[in-house]
Protein backbone atom coordinates (compact mmCIF):
# COMPACT_ATOMS: atom_id res chain seq x y z
CA UNK A 1 0.00 0.00 0.00
CA UNK A 2 2.85 2.34 0.83
CA UNK A 3 3.66 4.35 -2.23
CA UNK A 4 7.12 5.58 -3.01
CA UNK A 5 7.16 9.34 -2.84
CA UNK A 6 7.94 10.73 -6.25
CA UNK A 7 10.74 13.26 -5.98
CA UNK A 8 9.48 15.34 -8.82
CA UNK A 9 7.02 18.02 -7.87
CA UNK A 10 5.42 18.51 -11.24
CA UNK A 11 3.96 21.89 -10.49
CA UNK A 12 7.31 23.12 -9.19
CA UNK A 13 9.04 21.67 -12.24
CA UNK A 14 6.68 23.49 -14.60
CA UNK A 15 7.39 26.72 -12.77
CA UNK A 16 11.12 26.12 -13.14
CA UNK A 17 10.73 25.38 -16.85
CA UNK A 18 9.05 28.73 -17.29
CA UNK A 19 11.77 30.53 -15.33
CA UNK A 20 14.51 28.89 -17.37
CA UNK A 21 12.75 29.88 -20.59
CA UNK A 22 12.50 33.48 -19.42
CA UNK A 23 16.13 33.68 -18.34
CA UNK A 24 17.29 32.10 -21.58
CA UNK A 25 15.14 34.33 -23.75
CA UNK A 26 16.31 37.38 -21.86
CA UNK A 27 19.74 36.73 -23.42
CA UNK A 28 21.74 38.38 -20.66
CA UNK A 29 23.66 35.23 -19.82
CA UNK A 30 27.13 34.40 -21.05
CA UNK A 31 27.33 31.66 -23.64
CA UNK A 32 28.51 29.18 -21.02
CA UNK A 33 25.68 30.06 -18.70
CA UNK A 34 23.22 29.87 -21.56
CA UNK A 35 24.38 26.40 -22.49
CA UNK A 36 24.14 25.32 -18.85
CA UNK A 37 20.62 26.69 -18.50
CA UNK A 38 19.67 25.10 -21.79
CA UNK A 39 20.86 21.71 -20.61
CA UNK A 40 19.15 22.17 -17.26
CA UNK A 41 15.87 22.99 -18.99
CA UNK A 42 16.07 20.12 -21.45
CA UNK A 43 16.85 17.69 -18.64
CA UNK A 44 13.96 18.93 -16.53
CA UNK A 45 11.46 18.76 -19.37
CA UNK A 46 12.61 15.24 -20.14
CA UNK A 47 12.13 14.36 -16.49
CA UNK A 48 8.59 15.70 -16.65
CA UNK A 49 7.92 13.75 -19.82
CA UNK A 50 9.28 10.57 -18.27
CA UNK A 51 7.12 11.20 -15.22
CA UNK A 52 4.05 11.37 -17.43
CA UNK A 53 5.01 8.30 -19.42
CA UNK A 54 5.91 6.23 -16.39
CA UNK A 55 2.55 6.66 -14.69
CA UNK A 56 0.41 3.59 -15.02
CA UNK A 57 -3.31 3.46 -15.53
CA UNK A 58 -5.05 2.02 -12.52
CA UNK A 59 -8.72 2.08 -11.68
CA UNK A 60 -9.17 0.56 -8.27
CA UNK A 61 -11.77 0.32 -5.59
CA UNK A 62 -10.97 0.45 -1.89
CA UNK A 63 -12.70 -1.90 0.47
CA UNK A 64 -12.77 -0.64 4.03
CA UNK A 65 -13.47 -3.52 6.35
CA UNK A 66 -12.21 -2.32 9.68
CA UNK A 67 -8.47 -1.91 9.99
CA UNK A 68 -7.26 -3.70 6.90
CA UNK A 69 -7.24 -1.79 3.65
CA UNK A 70 -8.03 -3.84 0.61
CA UNK A 71 -7.91 -2.65 -2.94
CA UNK A 72 -9.08 -4.34 -6.08
CA UNK A 73 -9.37 -3.45 -9.73
CA UNK A 74 -12.59 -1.71 -10.59
CA UNK A 75 -14.55 -1.90 -13.80
CA UNK A 76 -17.73 0.20 -13.84
CA UNK A 77 -20.81 -1.72 -14.77
CA UNK A 78 -22.87 -0.65 -17.71
CA UNK A 79 -26.42 0.38 -16.91
Amino acid sequence: MEEKKEELNFEEAMKQLEEIANVLENGNLSLDESVNKFEEGMKLSKKCNDFLDQAEKKITMLINDGEEIKEENFVPKAD
Binding site: M1, E3, E6, F10, E11, M14, L17, E18, I20, A21, L24, E25, G27, L29, L31, S34, V35, K37, F38, G41, M42, S45, C48, N49, F51, L52, D53, A55, E56, K57, K58, I59, T60, M61, L62, N64, I69, E71, F74, P76, K77, D79
Partner: protein, 396 residues
Amino acid sequence: MEYNPITVTNLNKYIKSKIDSDEMLNNVLVKGEISNFKNHYTGHMYFTLKDENSLIKCVMFKTYTTHLSFMPKDGMKVIILGSVSVFERDGVYQVYAKAMKQDGLGSLYEAYEKLKAKLSGEGLFDESHKKKIPFMPKTIGVLTSNTGAVIRDIINVSTRRNPNVHIRLYPVPVQGAGAAEKIAEGIEFMNKNNLADVLIIGRGGGSLEDLWPFNEEIVARAIYNSKIPIISAVGHETDFTIADFVADLRAPTPSAAAELAVANIDDVKSTLFLYNTRYKNALKKKLQLMRLSYEKCMARQAFKNPTQKINEQYIVIDMKVKAMQNKIQLKLKEERTKFIKQVSKLDTLSPLKTLARGYSIVTDSSNKIIKSVKDLKEDQNINIRLADGEKQAKVL
Protein backbone atom coordinates in the same frame (compact mmCIF):
# COMPACT_ATOMS: atom_id res chain seq x y z
CA MET B 1 -96.09 6.01 -15.03
CA GLU B 2 -93.49 5.97 -17.64
CA TYR B 3 -89.76 5.82 -16.97
CA ASN B 4 -87.97 8.91 -18.04
CA PRO B 5 -84.26 8.03 -18.03
CA ILE B 6 -81.49 10.43 -18.94
CA THR B 7 -78.49 9.46 -20.96
CA VAL B 8 -75.08 8.61 -19.48
CA THR B 9 -73.74 11.70 -21.20
CA ASN B 10 -76.30 13.86 -19.60
CA LEU B 11 -75.66 12.28 -16.22
CA ASN B 12 -71.96 12.93 -16.45
CA LYS B 13 -72.68 16.44 -17.71
CA TYR B 14 -74.88 16.97 -14.70
CA ILE B 15 -72.27 15.64 -12.29
CA LYS B 16 -69.67 17.77 -13.98
CA SER B 17 -71.75 20.89 -13.68
CA LYS B 18 -72.37 20.12 -9.99
CA ILE B 19 -68.73 19.64 -9.30
CA ASP B 20 -67.64 22.60 -11.37
CA SER B 21 -69.96 24.89 -9.51
CA ASP B 22 -68.46 23.89 -6.16
CA GLU B 23 -66.05 26.59 -5.06
CA MET B 24 -64.03 24.31 -2.84
CA LEU B 25 -63.41 21.86 -5.68
CA ASN B 26 -62.50 24.63 -8.06
CA ASN B 27 -59.53 25.57 -6.05
CA VAL B 28 -58.24 22.68 -4.07
CA LEU B 29 -54.94 22.15 -2.32
CA VAL B 30 -54.26 18.47 -1.82
CA LYS B 31 -51.26 16.51 -0.60
CA GLY B 32 -50.28 12.94 -1.24
CA GLU B 33 -47.81 10.55 -2.76
CA ILE B 34 -47.36 10.16 -6.48
CA SER B 35 -47.78 6.78 -8.07
CA ASN B 36 -48.35 5.47 -11.57
CA PHE B 37 -46.55 8.50 -12.87
CA LYS B 38 -46.51 8.83 -16.67
CA ASN B 39 -44.80 11.64 -18.42
CA HIS B 40 -46.58 11.56 -21.77
CA TYR B 41 -44.68 12.53 -24.89
CA THR B 42 -47.19 15.32 -25.48
CA GLY B 43 -45.83 16.99 -22.35
CA HIS B 44 -48.84 16.21 -20.19
CA MET B 45 -48.33 14.28 -16.96
CA TYR B 46 -50.70 11.60 -15.74
CA PHE B 47 -50.45 10.12 -12.29
CA THR B 48 -52.32 9.02 -9.20
CA LEU B 49 -52.14 10.82 -5.90
CA LYS B 50 -52.63 8.61 -2.88
CA ASP B 51 -52.39 8.29 0.83
CA GLU B 52 -52.69 5.21 3.01
CA ASN B 53 -56.40 4.72 2.40
CA SER B 54 -57.40 6.43 -0.80
CA LEU B 55 -56.37 7.64 -4.20
CA ILE B 56 -57.39 10.09 -6.88
CA LYS B 57 -56.43 10.45 -10.52
CA CYS B 58 -54.47 13.51 -11.51
CA VAL B 59 -53.50 15.17 -14.73
CA MET B 60 -51.19 18.08 -15.29
CA PHE B 61 -51.21 19.65 -18.72
CA LYS B 62 -48.15 20.83 -20.57
CA THR B 63 -49.05 24.48 -19.96
CA TYR B 64 -48.33 23.89 -16.27
CA THR B 65 -45.66 21.17 -16.34
CA THR B 66 -43.17 23.54 -17.92
CA HIS B 67 -43.20 25.60 -14.73
CA LEU B 68 -42.18 22.68 -12.54
CA SER B 69 -38.83 23.07 -10.78
CA PHE B 70 -38.42 19.30 -10.45
CA MET B 71 -39.37 16.11 -12.22
CA PRO B 72 -42.11 14.31 -10.30
CA LYS B 73 -41.70 10.59 -9.84
CA ASP B 74 -43.34 7.69 -8.12
CA GLY B 75 -43.14 7.79 -4.35
CA MET B 76 -42.60 11.53 -4.21
CA LYS B 77 -44.65 13.41 -1.65
CA VAL B 78 -46.20 16.48 -3.18
CA ILE B 79 -48.72 19.23 -2.60
CA ILE B 80 -50.91 20.00 -5.59
CA LEU B 81 -52.95 23.03 -6.36
CA GLY B 82 -55.67 22.48 -8.90
CA SER B 83 -59.31 21.85 -9.50
CA VAL B 84 -61.41 18.73 -9.45
CA SER B 85 -63.49 18.05 -12.49
CA VAL B 86 -65.07 15.25 -14.43
CA PHE B 87 -63.76 13.67 -17.55
CA GLU B 88 -67.12 12.99 -19.13
CA ARG B 89 -66.05 10.35 -21.62
CA ASP B 90 -64.78 8.01 -18.91
CA GLY B 91 -67.04 9.19 -16.16
CA VAL B 92 -64.16 9.79 -13.84
CA TYR B 93 -63.38 12.74 -11.71
CA GLN B 94 -59.80 13.80 -11.35
CA VAL B 95 -57.58 16.57 -10.18
CA TYR B 96 -56.47 19.00 -12.87
CA ALA B 97 -53.22 20.16 -11.35
CA LYS B 98 -51.99 23.70 -11.98
CA ALA B 99 -49.02 23.73 -9.65
CA MET B 100 -47.10 21.20 -7.67
CA LYS B 101 -44.37 21.39 -5.04
CA GLN B 102 -42.52 18.79 -3.08
CA ASP B 103 -43.95 18.24 0.34
CA GLY B 104 -41.79 18.19 3.46
CA LEU B 105 -39.10 20.29 1.84
CA GLY B 106 -39.95 23.34 3.88
CA SER B 107 -38.23 21.93 6.91
CA LEU B 108 -35.28 20.77 4.81
CA TYR B 109 -34.79 24.23 3.32
CA GLU B 110 -34.97 25.68 6.76
CA ALA B 111 -32.38 23.23 8.06
CA TYR B 112 -30.19 23.95 5.03
CA GLU B 113 -30.26 27.71 5.56
CA LYS B 114 -29.69 27.34 9.28
CA LEU B 115 -26.67 25.05 8.88
CA LYS B 116 -25.28 27.19 6.08
CA ALA B 117 -25.45 30.28 8.26
CA LYS B 118 -23.91 28.45 11.21
CA LEU B 119 -20.98 26.96 9.28
CA SER B 120 -20.40 30.18 7.41
CA GLY B 121 -20.20 31.96 10.76
CA GLU B 122 -17.63 29.43 11.91
CA GLY B 123 -15.52 30.16 8.86
CA LEU B 124 -15.93 26.78 7.17
CA PHE B 125 -16.49 28.45 3.81
CA ASP B 126 -13.56 30.86 4.10
CA GLU B 127 -11.49 31.20 0.96
CA SER B 128 -8.35 31.39 3.07
CA HIS B 129 -8.87 27.83 4.24
CA LYS B 130 -9.26 26.43 0.77
CA LYS B 131 -6.43 24.26 -0.48
CA LYS B 132 -5.01 24.40 -3.94
CA ILE B 133 -5.88 21.49 -6.22
CA PRO B 134 -2.58 19.87 -7.24
CA PHE B 135 -1.72 20.25 -10.89
CA MET B 136 -0.63 16.70 -11.58
CA PRO B 137 -2.03 14.44 -8.84
CA LYS B 138 -0.77 10.89 -8.97
CA THR B 139 -3.84 9.39 -7.39
CA ILE B 140 -7.36 10.72 -7.63
CA GLY B 141 -9.62 9.51 -4.85
CA VAL B 142 -13.29 9.37 -5.69
CA LEU B 143 -16.03 9.10 -3.10
CA THR B 144 -19.26 8.16 -4.77
CA SER B 145 -21.42 5.19 -5.54
CA ASN B 146 -19.67 2.31 -7.27
CA THR B 147 -22.68 1.96 -9.54
CA GLY B 148 -24.27 4.48 -11.82
CA ALA B 149 -23.13 7.14 -14.19
CA VAL B 150 -21.05 9.31 -11.86
CA ILE B 151 -18.05 7.02 -11.45
CA ARG B 152 -18.28 6.03 -15.12
CA ASP B 153 -18.26 9.68 -16.20
CA ILE B 154 -15.32 10.44 -13.93
CA ILE B 155 -13.36 7.45 -15.23
CA ASN B 156 -14.18 8.30 -18.85
CA VAL B 157 -13.24 11.96 -18.60
CA SER B 158 -10.13 11.28 -16.51
CA THR B 159 -8.72 8.57 -18.72
CA ARG B 160 -9.48 10.58 -21.83
CA ARG B 161 -7.44 13.46 -20.44
CA ASN B 162 -4.70 11.31 -19.03
CA PRO B 163 -4.65 7.64 -20.07
CA ASN B 164 -2.21 6.85 -17.25
CA VAL B 165 -4.25 8.26 -14.41
CA HIS B 166 -4.75 6.37 -11.18
CA ILE B 167 -8.30 6.54 -9.87
CA ARG B 168 -9.05 5.13 -6.47
CA LEU B 169 -12.73 4.71 -5.78
CA TYR B 170 -13.98 4.61 -2.23
CA PRO B 171 -17.57 3.50 -2.65
CA VAL B 172 -20.15 5.27 -0.49
CA PRO B 173 -23.92 5.47 -0.56
CA VAL B 174 -24.86 8.92 -1.83
CA GLN B 175 -28.43 9.13 -0.61
CA GLY B 176 -30.63 7.81 2.14
CA ALA B 177 -30.15 7.35 5.83
CA GLY B 178 -26.57 6.86 6.96
CA ALA B 179 -25.07 8.10 3.69
CA ALA B 180 -23.67 11.25 5.28
CA GLU B 181 -21.87 9.26 7.97
CA LYS B 182 -20.38 6.94 5.35
CA ILE B 183 -19.21 9.86 3.24
CA ALA B 184 -17.59 11.55 6.24
CA GLU B 185 -15.98 8.26 7.23
CA GLY B 186 -14.62 7.86 3.71
CA ILE B 187 -13.04 11.32 3.74
CA GLU B 188 -11.39 10.57 7.08
CA PHE B 189 -10.24 7.16 5.87
CA MET B 190 -8.60 8.58 2.76
CA ASN B 191 -6.87 11.20 4.89
CA LYS B 192 -5.73 8.88 7.63
CA ASN B 193 -4.17 6.45 5.18
CA ASN B 194 -3.04 9.11 2.73
CA LEU B 195 -4.66 7.31 -0.16
CA ALA B 196 -5.05 10.17 -2.64
CA ASP B 197 -3.58 13.47 -3.77
CA VAL B 198 -6.99 14.93 -4.48
CA LEU B 199 -10.51 13.82 -3.66
CA ILE B 200 -13.66 14.10 -5.70
CA ILE B 201 -16.88 13.67 -3.75
CA GLY B 202 -20.11 13.69 -5.61
CA ARG B 203 -23.26 12.23 -6.97
CA GLY B 204 -25.62 12.79 -9.85
CA GLY B 205 -28.66 14.99 -9.90
CA GLY B 206 -31.70 14.33 -7.76
CA SER B 207 -34.27 15.89 -5.51
CA LEU B 208 -33.26 18.00 -2.57
CA GLU B 209 -33.86 14.96 -0.39
CA ASP B 210 -31.56 12.87 -2.58
CA LEU B 211 -28.80 15.41 -2.29
CA TRP B 212 -29.37 15.78 1.43
CA PRO B 213 -26.32 13.84 2.71
CA PHE B 214 -24.19 16.55 1.13
CA ASN B 215 -26.04 19.12 3.22
CA GLU B 216 -25.24 17.49 6.51
CA GLU B 217 -22.92 18.92 9.09
CA ILE B 218 -20.87 15.74 9.52
CA VAL B 219 -19.91 15.82 5.81
CA ALA B 220 -19.19 19.55 5.93
CA ARG B 221 -16.84 19.11 8.88
CA ALA B 222 -15.10 16.11 7.32
CA ILE B 223 -14.45 18.16 4.17
CA TYR B 224 -13.19 21.08 6.23
CA ASN B 225 -10.82 18.88 8.21
CA SER B 226 -9.47 17.04 5.18
CA LYS B 227 -5.81 17.59 4.44
CA ILE B 228 -6.35 16.24 0.96
CA PRO B 229 -7.85 18.91 -1.32
CA ILE B 230 -11.47 18.14 -2.16
CA ILE B 231 -13.46 18.86 -5.28
CA SER B 232 -17.23 18.62 -4.80
CA ALA B 233 -19.50 17.64 -7.65
CA VAL B 234 -22.99 17.23 -6.34
CA GLY B 235 -26.01 17.13 -8.60
CA HIS B 236 -26.48 19.51 -11.46
CA GLU B 237 -24.97 22.89 -12.11
CA THR B 238 -27.88 24.62 -10.34
CA ASP B 239 -27.65 22.54 -7.18
CA PHE B 240 -25.65 24.12 -4.41
CA THR B 241 -25.05 21.96 -1.36
CA ILE B 242 -23.26 22.79 1.88
CA ALA B 243 -20.53 20.41 0.70
CA ASP B 244 -19.99 22.65 -2.32
CA PHE B 245 -19.41 25.66 -0.09
CA VAL B 246 -16.91 23.89 2.15
CA ALA B 247 -15.04 22.06 -0.60
CA ASP B 248 -11.78 23.51 -1.89
CA LEU B 249 -13.27 23.62 -5.34
CA ARG B 250 -16.81 23.15 -6.60
CA ALA B 251 -17.40 21.46 -9.91
CA PRO B 252 -20.77 21.89 -11.58
CA THR B 253 -20.91 18.20 -12.53
CA PRO B 254 -18.91 15.01 -11.86
CA SER B 255 -17.46 15.17 -15.38
CA ALA B 256 -16.32 18.72 -14.73
CA ALA B 257 -14.75 17.57 -11.46
CA ALA B 258 -12.68 15.03 -13.38
CA GLU B 259 -11.60 17.77 -15.76
CA LEU B 260 -10.54 19.94 -12.85
CA ALA B 261 -8.64 17.14 -11.15
CA VAL B 262 -6.91 15.61 -14.13
CA ALA B 263 -4.70 17.70 -16.34
CA ASN B 264 -5.02 17.04 -20.04
CA ILE B 265 -1.82 15.16 -20.74
CA ASP B 266 -1.73 16.25 -24.38
CA ASP B 267 -1.78 19.88 -23.28
CA VAL B 268 0.94 19.24 -20.73
CA LYS B 269 3.07 17.44 -23.27
CA SER B 270 2.69 20.17 -25.83
CA THR B 271 3.58 22.70 -23.14
CA LEU B 272 6.70 20.70 -22.37
CA PHE B 273 7.49 20.53 -26.06
CA LEU B 274 6.97 24.26 -26.31
CA TYR B 275 9.56 24.78 -23.59
CA ASN B 276 12.06 22.65 -25.52
CA THR B 277 11.43 24.77 -28.58
CA ARG B 278 11.80 27.96 -26.59
CA TYR B 279 15.10 26.76 -25.15
CA LYS B 280 16.41 25.76 -28.55
CA ASN B 281 15.41 29.05 -30.11
CA ALA B 282 16.86 31.04 -27.26
CA LEU B 283 20.16 29.21 -27.51
CA LYS B 284 20.18 29.51 -31.29
CA LYS B 285 19.60 33.22 -30.97
CA LYS B 286 22.37 33.47 -28.42
CA LEU B 287 24.74 31.66 -30.76
CA GLN B 288 23.74 33.88 -33.64
CA LEU B 289 24.39 36.95 -31.55
CA MET B 290 27.75 35.57 -30.51
CA ARG B 291 28.59 34.81 -34.15
CA LEU B 292 27.53 38.27 -35.16
CA SER B 293 29.70 39.97 -32.61
CA TYR B 294 32.52 37.58 -33.48
CA GLU B 295 32.20 38.48 -37.13
CA LYS B 296 32.04 42.13 -36.28
CA CYS B 297 35.17 41.71 -34.30
CA MET B 298 36.92 39.74 -37.02
CA ALA B 299 35.94 42.37 -39.55
CA ARG B 300 38.22 44.84 -37.83
CA GLN B 301 41.56 45.56 -39.54
CA ALA B 302 43.69 43.88 -36.92
CA PHE B 303 41.97 40.54 -37.47
CA LYS B 304 41.25 40.87 -41.11
CA ASN B 305 44.96 41.44 -42.03
CA PRO B 306 46.95 40.57 -38.98
CA THR B 307 50.42 40.87 -40.79
CA GLN B 308 49.82 44.38 -41.99
CA LYS B 309 50.83 45.96 -38.75
CA ILE B 310 53.94 43.80 -38.68
CA ASN B 311 54.77 44.67 -42.25
CA GLU B 312 54.37 48.31 -41.41
CA GLN B 313 56.78 47.83 -38.59
CA TYR B 314 59.19 46.07 -40.92
CA ILE B 315 59.09 49.03 -43.22
CA VAL B 316 59.89 51.33 -40.38
CA ILE B 317 62.74 49.10 -39.33
CA ASP B 318 64.02 48.92 -42.88
CA MET B 319 63.88 52.66 -43.15
CA LYS B 320 65.76 53.06 -39.90
CA VAL B 321 68.38 50.54 -40.95
CA LYS B 322 68.80 52.36 -44.23
CA ALA B 323 69.18 55.69 -42.47
CA MET B 324 71.68 54.13 -40.17
CA GLN B 325 73.62 52.69 -43.07
CA ASN B 326 73.66 56.06 -44.81
CA LYS B 327 74.89 57.74 -41.72
CA ILE B 328 77.69 55.20 -41.28
CA GLN B 329 78.63 55.47 -44.90
CA LEU B 330 78.81 59.21 -44.63
CA LYS B 331 80.89 59.00 -41.50
CA LEU B 332 83.21 56.56 -43.17
CA LYS B 333 83.67 58.80 -46.13
CA GLU B 334 84.40 61.76 -43.92
CA GLU B 335 86.91 59.76 -41.92
CA ARG B 336 88.56 58.51 -45.04
CA THR B 337 89.03 61.99 -46.42
CA LYS B 338 90.42 63.11 -43.12
CA PHE B 339 92.77 60.16 -43.13
CA ILE B 340 94.08 60.86 -46.60
CA LYS B 341 94.69 64.42 -45.67
CA GLN B 342 96.65 63.31 -42.65
CA VAL B 343 98.63 60.83 -44.65
CA SER B 344 99.68 63.38 -47.23
CA LYS B 345 100.58 65.74 -44.45
CA LEU B 346 102.65 62.99 -42.89
CA ASP B 347 104.25 62.30 -46.18
CA THR B 348 105.55 65.82 -46.54
CA LEU B 349 107.04 65.59 -43.10
CA SER B 350 108.60 62.16 -43.69
CA PRO B 351 112.45 61.85 -43.23
CA LEU B 352 112.49 59.69 -46.31
CA LYS B 353 112.09 62.78 -48.42
CA THR B 354 115.14 64.22 -46.71
CA LEU B 355 117.07 61.05 -47.44
CA ALA B 356 116.12 61.38 -51.07
CA ARG B 357 117.78 64.69 -51.11
CA GLY B 358 121.10 62.96 -50.17
CA TYR B 359 121.04 62.92 -46.43
CA SER B 360 121.58 59.81 -44.43
CA ILE B 361 120.80 58.64 -40.97
CA VAL B 362 123.36 56.87 -38.85
CA THR B 363 122.23 54.57 -36.16
CA ASP B 364 124.14 52.40 -33.76
CA SER B 365 123.61 48.68 -33.32
CA SER B 366 120.73 49.34 -31.03
CA ASN B 367 119.10 51.45 -33.71
CA LYS B 368 119.69 54.64 -31.83
CA ILE B 369 120.24 57.64 -34.08
CA ILE B 370 123.70 59.06 -33.74
CA LYS B 371 123.53 62.81 -33.79
CA SER B 372 127.13 63.68 -32.75
CA VAL B 373 130.61 62.48 -33.69
CA LYS B 374 131.30 62.31 -30.04
CA ASP B 375 129.06 59.34 -29.91
CA LEU B 376 131.17 57.48 -32.36
CA LYS B 377 134.04 55.26 -31.28
CA GLU B 378 136.71 53.52 -33.27
CA ASP B 379 135.79 50.16 -34.86
CA GLN B 380 132.18 50.70 -33.91
CA ASN B 381 129.65 49.09 -36.18
CA ILE B 382 127.12 51.52 -37.49
CA ASN B 383 124.15 51.47 -39.74
CA ILE B 384 123.73 54.00 -42.47
CA ARG B 385 120.37 54.54 -43.87
CA LEU B 386 120.08 56.09 -47.28
CA ALA B 387 117.12 56.80 -49.45
CA ASP B 388 117.27 53.55 -51.29
CA GLY B 389 118.40 51.25 -48.44
CA GLU B 390 120.73 50.54 -45.60
CA LYS B 391 124.36 49.58 -45.34
CA GLN B 392 126.61 48.43 -42.47
CA ALA B 393 129.84 50.34 -41.89
CA LYS B 394 132.77 50.50 -39.46
CA VAL B 395 134.20 53.65 -38.00
CA LEU B 396 137.85 54.09 -38.74
